[in-house]
Every structure is written in structure tokens, then in C-alpha cells.
Subunit: 317 residues, 2 copies
């Protein structure tokens, strides 16, 4: 009925997972069509790395590489090997039919397999100074950014109260003079083990019932104004950095419940694979990973997704 070309594989996403999947799919002659989105998930094509400055831990670049450049190079590589890229956001997908239907800005596309690599978006709070100093001393990933020179031997502020906040606080304590953990309640939501790490660490100071109200800075962050919610008292913490550790939102809304996810919305995949509950649909990168969330782990799972899509197609032929 349809006169549309049936694609072998459509890839949705624009970060390391998506482009690694594209590189492998293209080299396997699957002629991938990739939707990189247009400000999808609130960030430019390229994903969370485009909001980073220097990336020191992506293996292969001993002198570091800045995030946008790394993504430009991955994108160039997937294009070079034959990936067709559309700068459109996928708004809807229908996994109940075969081939699958994918709706983007310019219309509907159909594909035998779909690789979901739409990532996750770090939550941040909005108060004065956040926008101005974002990535100039404000970050949402301690493991990615904590070891950068601008954060070393300075007091740092972390906002959050869950496992991530505790883990990131103790991680940052390795580099910081002091870590100020701000939590809006009077007890942490984190597991007992994680709480213990925080309480046992002399360099981490917990500020209960406390929120940040303003970020101060010059070229980069110099301090965070805080407010005690019980007393209403405001004070200033001198700090070289502010880290949001209040979670991420996986970009899965467009799936409309058609893939199995956990309660937070992360796509569930079979162990040690990218296979979802729908045969022919694969998920890779941060959209299915709330544990490691690194550029190189995302890239690795993108490779896995392409190889699995290739196998799926070969078996179906």
C-alpha cells in the first residue's frame, strides 16, 4: 500500500550512542537514516556533550577534546560512512505495525528496525545565575567534570539528596577543599550506605533544609547564596563550582509507553544487550543507562545496538 521506502534502520538521537550506532550500521551497509532532532530534549543536536566544555576522559584524546568538537567528529564520521541525517525531532513512533512507523517534522517514515538513542536530560533548577554560569562552573555531572582544573582545591556546592548526590559529593571531595551538600529536607533520600559515605567524609558538610537562591560569579562561579527554609536566613558560600545532582529525565516521551521502561522512564533492555521488549527495536546510551552515563559507555552500547540490528535483519531475511 505505502509507497514509502522501507528503511533498514532508523536511528533516533544525536549523541555518542546514536552516532556510534550509525557508524557501525553504515559500515554494515544498512544505510541508516538518523534523526538528530531539532533542540530535542532541550539541547542541540549532539546531546549532553554539547553542553560540556573539555572532555578529558573519552579515550583516544590524550590532550582532551571539547564536547562539541568530539560530537562534530562523530557526526562527520557517521556521514562519511553513509548515514543520512535529518535535523528533525521524532514526535511519534508506532511499534504496533511492521515495518515500524516513525513520525518526524517532515512526515512519516517506515523502518524494519529502530535504534532509540535519545539520551536523558539532566534536571537543573532555575534561579538567578544558573543560566549565566552554566558550564562555567555549573555542571550536572561530577564524574564527567569534577576532575577539571577549575574545580580543584576549591570549595564546591552540590544540590540533591539521593544516591547520586551522595556519590557525587564524596567523589568531588577528592578534588575539593570542602563539599557543601545542600538538601531541602532534614534527611537524605539516599540509601543508608550512601548516607554513611557522606557522614564519614570529613570534607563533606551537609546543609539541611537549605536551598540555593543565587549563583554569584565573575568569569566562573565564585559563590552560591543559600537560604535556610526553616529560619529564612540567607548566607553566602564561597565556591568554585555548583553541581546539580537531582536526577535526569530519560527522553522517552515520544515512545508513549510502547517500550518497557522502569518507573523513572529508562528503557529496559535484556542483560548485556540493547534488545528491548519489542523485537527489532534497540535502545542504547543514556536513555537506557542511569548508572554509568559516560560518553564512552554510550558509544559502546551504540555499537552493540547496530550489531544487534544487523543480526536481527540478517535473521529475518
Amino acid at each position: 500500500m505505502s509507497e514509502k521506502k522501507t528503511e533498514k534502520v532508523i536511528i533516533i538521537g544525536s549523541g555518542p550512542a546514536a552516532h556510534t550506532a550509525a557508524i557501525y550500521a553504515a559500515r554494515a551497509e544498512l544505510e541508516p537514516l538518523l534523526f538528530e532532532g531539532f533542540m530535542a530534549g532541550g539541547v542541540a543536536a549532539g546531546g549532553q556533550l554539547t553542553t560540556t566544555t573539555e572532555v578529558e576522559n573519552y579515550p583516544g584524546f590524550p590532550d582532551g577534546i571539547d564536547g562539541p568538537t568530539l560530537m562534530d567528529q562523530m557526526r562527520a564520521q557517521s556521514v562519511k560512512h553513509g548515514t543520512r541525517i535529518k535535523t528533525e525531532t521524532v514526535s511519534k513512533i508506532d511499534l504496533s505495525c511492521r515495518p515500524f512507523a516513525v513520525t518526524a517534522d517532515s512526515g512519516e517514515y517506515v523502518a524494519q528496525t529502530v535504534i532509540v538513542a535519545t539520551g536523558a536530560t539532566a534536571k537543573k533548577l532555575e534561579f538567578p545565575g544558573v543560566e549565566e554560569y552554566w558550564q562555567k562552573g555549573i555542571s550536572a555531572c561530577a564524574v564527567c567534570d569534577g576532575a577539571l582544573p577549575i574545580f580543584r582545591n576549591k570549595p564546591l556546592v552540590v544540590i540533591g539528596g539521593g544516591d547520586s548526590a551522595c556519590e557525587e559529593s564524596t567523589y568531588l571531595a577528592k578534588f575539593a577543599t570542602t563539599v557543601h551538600l545542600l538538601h531541602r529536607r532534614d534527611e537524605l533520600r539516599a540509601s543508608k550506605a550512601m548516607q554513611k559515605r557522606v557522614f564519614d567524609n570529613e570534607k563533606v558538610k551537609v546543609h539541611w533544609d537549605t536551598v540555593a537562591v543565587e549563583v554569584l560569579g565573575e568569569k566562573t562561579v565564585t559563590g552560591v547564596k543559600i537560604k535556610n527554609l526553616k529560619t529564612g536566613e540567607q548566607s553566602l558560600i564561597e565556591a568554585g563550582g555548583l553541581f546539580f545532582a537531582i536526577g535526569h529525565v530519560p527522553n522517552t516521551a515520544f515512545l508513549d509507553g510502547q517500550l518497557e521502561t522502569d518507573e523513572t522512564g529508562y528503557v529496559i533492555t535484556k542483560p548485556d544487550s540493547t534488545v528491548t521488549n519489542v523485537p527489532g527495536v534497540f535502545a542504547c546510551g543514556d536513555v537506557k543507562d542511569h548508572v554509568y552515563r559516560q560518553a564512552v559507555t554510550a558509544a559502546g552500547s551504540g555499537c552493540m545496538a547496530a550489531l544487534e540490528a544487523e543480526r536481527f535483519l540478517a535473521d529475518g531475511e
Copy 2:
């Protein structure tokens, strides 16, 4: 009792998994000590990539990068972040004591955590021409090398009879004019599904009861002399490439059975992690992966191992 310094983490290996683990461990201030080996597993430090020429599919390098250069850069990066590297092979490890004991050429070392990233070695057969044309038209990884220009639009030869041989044959059929699959028996060992892929593919020709006896070439491979084991008859196949698909041997002998492995010797890890059956010991890269076996998947799992070692140490403090 011991006056030895207890290391926080010892990493054993020298490929993408080992160095990515080292980069992450070093950045987390774990001061990793890495044993890169001295011709361990039959290859130079750097792992299987050092036996490759151009790597087109490692994301971040749109123009490709040759294997040894990529490994040099990863090694430089792990050194830059503080990894101490010893060019010694680990001969023995004792996981029954805490801290763990690691025996290398220069003596015994002790560590709170160990990351095993010793890789796997591709099996190859030895007959005239193999050594001469190794990586000049001979490869042990179709997915890594099959799409390279030197293999395109030429007849290719694959040796093997298992799932990998079938998968690699059909993969190579995308690029080759014909794929000649040589198998020494009169039936394939591969699963029925994989056999079907081969039999259904017009471009793959199976040569039963057949072995290769010589590789011919000029600058690169030009042909493979084969012999029918039943008739004794020899003939020449014109071919631009020869692929061994007869399996890999994971480099786990030094573990002496102290980590749980599968029947082939691959280290077993908990799903979606690098955690082994011994708490504090992590495995990453090809030593635990016989499915994907790519530089980028190995690197991704190396990152996971370092983050897990870091968590293990933080919990134990």
C-alpha cells in the same frame, strides 16, 4: 606484616578496556598501577588493535586512525592522568587473600581491587603465507576490517564452521563479489539459523572437507591455495582477503580458575556490569565479551570497571 604498598587498584591489560579503566581510575584519584605485559597473549602491549592497520569505526576519528596510534594515544592519556605502567606480564594472582596478591616479573604486588582486562587472542592457523600477509589481507575480525577498501568488490575466503564463521561470511558478502567459506568437515557446527543465512546467501559458496594450504600474494593477498581432504585435490581460489573465524582464546590462564568463567574461559560478569564472582575483582573488554569484541565496546566496559572499583572502594572505607 607486609611492607608492600597496598595499591587501590591494579589493572591487568593494555588494550582499550585496560586504558579506559586506567583513565577513569586515575581521574578518580585511585592512582592505578597497570601491568601492560610483555608480549602477553602473544601480542605487543596495546592488544589486538596493534595488529590492525586502519580503524574506521572507533567513534571520534572521522578519517580513521591506525590501531597502534589509537592505542598509543589511549596509553598517553592514562599516563597523563597519573597511571603508573609496568611493561611486565602478570603470571599469577591470588584472590584468596585480602589485599589481593599479583605476581609479575619484578615481584609481588598487593591491591584492594583488581581489574582484569587481558583480552582474548584470535586463533589463527599456520601455513605458508599467513605470517607474511597477516594484516595485509589476512584478518581475524570481519566486523573490524571487512569494510576496508582493500576487501571491497573482491572474492574473499573465510575459514571456519561455527556461528562466527557463518556470521562473518554473510557480513563479508555485503562487500565481496563472492565469499568462499572453507570448512574442514562435511557439515557446519553453527546453529541452524546461522547455517540458513549462509545457504540462503547466493554470494557465499561453502567448500566442504576443505582446508587452506597456502596464501599467495604480492603486496597483499591475491589468492588462497586449498585442498580437498577427501580427494586430496588442490586448487587455487583468487581472493583479495582471508579471514580466520575459528574463535578466540580469552587470556585467563593466569587466573588459574579463581574467577568464574564459561566453558571457553571467558570471565562471567553480573548482567550489565563488570562485577565478577569475587568482590573487588572486575573484568572488562574481550576477556569477558565474546559477542561484540569491538574497541569501543571494550573501552565502554573499561569505564564501567573503573567506576565500579571506585564504588567498591568508597563503600569499604
